[in-house]
């Protein structure tokens, strides 16, 4: 298009202003190099952690049965990965996580939408939500177990109570921080009522909402693990059941192997939210402004 409008000073100015600037170039490396650049610090951190663990193990301040080294634990983990039991347990636990988080997502979003929309609800319910958020979810278990009995519902109940407040708060904060100028622009355009919500307020609050989801997930995962240790249901295997069995049998290598599984699952889901969050920021030009171009 530069050719057809080359005599137009405005287009010329546009091209000059959009030309790559020296400061920005090195920040935008190829995706391949970027991925590699992001991976090696993580590998280094894992190596470091294993190294420290090995050193403590070799120091011999505890017997190898009570504190096994990385080699024993990783071998145990590998062994467990050959059996269906571990995968069944992971399946059960993840299923609970998905159902619980899904319920929290629905309930949190509905509550958040209502509270952000209706002013009288705001003062009362708003602070209640924040209060719920600070309450350790494990404190709900006695209530949940008496109320629901020793079953999955008790676990799901506590997951929802752990995650929904964060999700609701994320949505409320996002709606609150919709830039007033964009609201004015939207109203000038003729966006009203539901259309204003759909085309302006919801997209504007998306980054804050995703941050709320991420926090909600962290709470949900913690609640789930606590729940599976406390609410043991006969005949079902879950990660919590495996961990609890290891404790009873004083099987430290297996317990530590399961802990690694928990850690990896938590990190993987967190990374998923991180990817969504970064994609949103990049699309809106928020990532680059942080780099200071």
């Amino acid at each position: 298009m530069a050719a057809e409008t080359s005599l137009d000073p405005l287009s010329g100015l546009d091209n000059l202003e959009l030309a790559p600037q020296p400061g920005r170039d090195f920040l935008r490396r190829g995706t391949g190099g970027k991925a590699l650049g992001a991976v090696w610090p993580k590998l280094l951190a894992i190596a470091l952690a294993l190294g420290v663990w090995e050193v403590v193990y070799l120091s011999g301040f505890k017997s190898a049965i009570i504190f096994p080294g990385p080699a024993t634990v990783l071998a145990n983990l590998w062994g467990q990965m050959q059996h269906a039991l571990l995968w069944q347990a992971i399946g059960t636990t993840l299923q609970r996580a998905v159902v619980g988080f899904g319920l929290a997502l629905i309930i949190g979003s509905v509550v958040g939408a209502l509270v952000s929309r209706i002013k009288p609800l705001r003062a009362g319910v708003g602070s209640l939500i924040t209060g719920l958020q600070t309450m350790p979810s494990i404190a709900w278990f006695p209530f949940a177990i008496i109320f629901f009995g020793l079953n999955t519902s008790a676990i799901l109940f506590v997951i929802v109570l752990g995650a929904a407040p964060s999700i609701a708060n994320g949505l409320i904060a996002g709606v609150d921080y919709t830039p007033p100028l964009l609201l004015r622009a939207g109203k000038t355009m003729g966006l009203r009522g539901f259309a204003l919500y759909r085309h302006l307020i919801l997209p504007a609050s998306l980054p804050t909402f995703v941050a709320g989801l991420k926090q909600g997930w962290a709470f949900a995962w913690r609640s789930l693990m606590a729940g599976e240790l406390l609410v043991i249901i006969a005949g079902t295997s879950s990660i919590g059941v495996l961990l609890s069995t290891d404790q009873q049998q004083a099987d430290m290598p297996s317990a530590m192997a399961i802990m690694i599984v928990i850690l990896v699952l938590g990190i993987a889901v967190d990374a998923l939210f991180g990817t969504i969050d970064r994609a949103i920021r990049r699309r809106r030009g928020l990532a680059e402004s942080a780099a200071g171009s």
Binding site: T5, L10, L13, L182, M189, H199, G285
Partner: protein, 285 residues
């Protein structure tokens, strides 16, 4: 100038207004059928605006009367606190007057700000398409119409770019395309080029002049730059501060095309600066 034809509106005859009905019959917002007709696009009659109540209340506008002809380019100039932005909000219908009447004769009005206020999650094209959608343009037409509008502001190839990928001047042109998408007859502009560098602003003046001419837009343009007012306006309204009142009306007779750096613009600008300084000096004590 026919600024203050006060108390004109005669009791409105029942039934649809005849084509040859007197010009003052199109002043109320309700008579949408007279769109594009008549001699006034925007009329403010003794408009006052008070913010707050009781002791802390602030009189922002004091009995301001103003009539803008269709196709006319009127610049509003004044020091801070002259209620320029308040006036635009009233005309845009985002706020209502405390006293007096604001009439746009059923004409469509749109507002542009100093910031482009584009939606950062949408591409340029989608930003324009959303305005078309809000107006009820069918889906299959929107893409093509948006492309046309972007072409109008010389951004034909940039429909797929997001706002943060464009320069400040380009964003402001997307905002102009979005305003044009609203198919308004009256364009209200609140210091739209205030944040741009002088060179970009000069080029955008030419663009705006061309587009307004082609589309016969009526423009109310707020600025604090006296030369910009002299460069663009068919008429310049000088406002006092706290409260805002019309203190002078200057018809600008300088022939177009005009240049910011021409001696006539400089002279007229100097006159406005003097008036504004007098006005500011009166607030010195």
């Amino acid at each position: 100038m026919s600024v203050t034809q006060r108390g004109v509106a005669p009791p409105q005859a029942s039934g649809p207004p005849a084509p040859g009905s007197p010009p003052s019959s199109d002043v109320s917002r309700s008579s949408a059928s007279t769109r594009g007709a008549g001699t006034t696009a925007v009329r403010l009659t003794e408009v006052s605006k008070v913010y707050g109540k009781g002791r802390s209340s602030l009189l922002a506008l004091d009995k301001v009367s103003l009539a803008v002809r269709p196709g006319e380019f009127v610049c509003l100039i004044g020091a801070s606190g002259c209620g320029k932005s308040t006036m635009l909000s009233l005309v845009a219908g985002l706020d209502s007057a405390t006293a007096g009447e604001v009439a746009t004769g059923g004409k469509r009005v749109t507002l542009m700000f100093q910031e482009p206020a584009l939606f950062p999650w949408l591409t340029s094209s989608r930003n324009v398409e959303l305005a078309l959608r809000a107006r009820g343009v069918p889906k299959q037409e929107r893409r093509a119409r948006a492309a046309e509008l972007l072409q109008t502001v010389h951004l034909g190839g940039f429909g797929g770019k997001r706002p943060h990928e464009l320069s400040g001047g380009m964003r402001q042109r997307v905002a102009l395309a979005r305003a044009l998408a609203q198919d308004a007859d009256v364009l209200l502009m609140d210091e739209p080029f205030g944040a741009l560098d002088a060179m970009t602003r000069d080029l955008l003046h030419e663009e705006l002049e061309r587009i307004c001419g082609e589309r016969e837009l009526t423009v109310l343009f707020v600025t604090h730059n006296v030369r910009e007012a002299a460069r663009l306006g068919d008429r310049v309204i000088v406002l006092s501060s706290r409260p805002g009142r019309v203190i002078e009306e200057i018809p600008v007779g300088i022939e177009r095309p005009r240049r910011m750096d021409s001696p006539q613009i400089a002279e007229l600008g100097a006159h406005m600066t003097d008036r504004l300084r007098e006005e500011m000096a009166s607030h010195g004590r």
